[in-house]
């Protein structure tokens, strides 16, 4: 039976792993390669590396760390951040990444998704979506350039519509980051994930809000997501992956031991 995936997310800035709260105040967590290796050995099912500075400051980013990770890691990993063209993606995939994830550049130019699908196949193309619940309108809206607070902006897209659009264009997986929940460890946004699950025909990964082991159990049981992504609870040692897996298995969730 296909296992639900536990996915530590490593936000990368200048080759270091960092973590902020609701996308702000980034602190350095550690060097990227030993951290990646530690997670793989601890039983992570997959890793995601978000180069959080890439999209927002427009410079050419040194991605040589991708190759260093590929050398030591024997589980799949995905690289996100600053991938604007097929050539950018090709470079990262050649260095050994299994998937590439696009967010802001896909919002700026949605055809990018079609192009990536065409060149590398659907299985390589992950679309990350930063979704924020706007209390005034009562709607979930898609945000762009979330790596840099001063440039973060609301887009024209409602989250549901953008999900439908990226699926139509050939996305192979969606990572839905619920910004209201990010880094505050109050639980995944089950209501939103459930509503997106209904229209999402490809794997859906929950992101933002994990604080306790029960939160993982809840998101798998209640929102039927394919994977759960988390950062701070893993980086800060609040949750050990082995203990989490044991609990999820005890809760009857399909998990790779």
């Amino acid at each position: 039976m296909l296992a639900k995936r536990l996915i530590p997310c490593l936000d990368v800035r200048d080759g270091k792993v960092v973590k902020g709260v609701q996308f702000r105040n980034h602190e350095i967590i550690g060097d990227i390669v030993p951290l990646a290796q530690r997670y793989a050995q601890a039983g992570a099912d997959e890793l995601v590396f978000y180069d959080i500075t890439a999209s927002s400051d427009g410079r050419v980013v040194d991605k040589s760390w991708v190759r260093r990770i590929a050398e030591v890691i024997d589980i799949p990993f995905c690289v996100a951040g600053g991938i604007k063209t097929v050539a950018d993606a090709a470079k990262i995939l050649e260095m050994g990444a299994d998937k590439i994830s696009v967010n802001s550049p896909a919002l700026a130019r949605p055809e990018l998704i079609n192009e990536l699908n065409h060149h590398f196949g659907q299985q390589c193309v992950v679309v990350g979506i930063d979704s924020f619940f706007d209390v005034v309108s009562g709607q979930y809206q898609v945000y762009q350039f979330t790596g840099d607070e001063s440039r973060t902006q609301k887009t024209q897209w409602l989250t549901r519509d953008w999900v439908a659009e990226v699926l139509k264009r050939g996305a192979g997986e969606i990572v839905l980051n619920c910004m209201n929940q990010d880094g505050v460890r109050q639980g995944y946004d089950i209501a939103q994930l459930k509503s997106i699950r209904d229209i999402c025909t490809v794997p859906l990964i929950a992101s933002g809000g994990a604080g306790t082991m029960a939160h993982f159990s809840d998101v798998f049981n209640q929102a039927d997501v394919d994977g759960a992504l988390a950062a701070s609870v893993f980086h800060k040692g609040i949750i050990e992956i082995a203990a989490l897996k044991a609990k999820l298995i005890a809760d009857g969730i399909s998990i790779r031991p």
Binding site: P76, A90, F120, D226
Partner: protein, 197 residues
């Protein structure tokens, strides 16, 4: 022992190279027919679409070379699908080393691509599968698959059964990614290295 990875221009070549390096084998990467023919073992990687990958093999004039190999040949993921007679993905003729057909996955109402860690069953006694059990998980990413048939060495279930590993004579293939399947995947690669015809 000289292991050569066929340079298909596909994306997972470095991952496959590094996976063997972790096992202590420094593989060559080549699209030169002479180098490939002279290898003790050959690996055919692949990510992308069958149509593009076959076109690349044809451009490099490697189809005859691969078809005439006598030494052990392992195809991974799309590389495994290329070993068959035909793929429905782009309706393309493949290398025809194993008489099988690549079809869209019949996943019932389950989501595609089939992406993630899954278990194997109906595991054969083939040397490639030594040490594998039904509790092992391996990593899959695909939407097309080979139906279970005579040449299946292990099956996987996702909506319906499909061939996770196939083999005939000197040719074997894995639908999953051994280079990304942790210790279990490394075992398959090690078995391939140790496999004597």
């Amino acid at each position: 022992m000289q292991l050569v990875i066929v340079d298909t221009g596909c994306a997972n070549i470095s991952s496959v190279y590094f996976a063997f390096k972790r096992l202590g084998v420094d593989a060559g990467i080549s699209r030169d027919a002479k180098v490939i023919k002279a290898a003790d073992k050959v690996l055919l990687p692949g990510v992308g679409t069958a149509h593009n990958a076959m076109a690349k093999l044809q451009q490099a004039e490697l189809t005859d070379t691969l078809q005439s190999l006598q030494q052990p040949l392992l195809g991974i993921c799309l590389g495994m699908q290329l070993l068959t007679r035909h793929s429905m993905e782009g309706d393309v003729a493949c290398l025809n080393l194993i008489p099988a057909e690549v079809l869209p996955m019949q996943s019932a109402d389950l989501r595609l691509p089939h992406m993630g860690w899954n278990t194997l069953h109906s595991i054969s006694e083939h040397p490639l599968m030594r040490g594998f059990s039904v509790t092992d998980y391996v990593y899959f990413v695909h939407s097309f698959a080979v139906a279970p048939d005579l040449h299946a060495l292990a099956l996987c279930h996702y909506g319906s059964d499909f061939a996770a590993v196939i083999g005939k004579d000197n040719v074997v293939g894995a639908q999953f990614h051994p280079e990304r399947s942790g210790n279990t995947g490394a075992r398959l690669l090690q078995n391939f290295l140790e496999w004597q015809l």
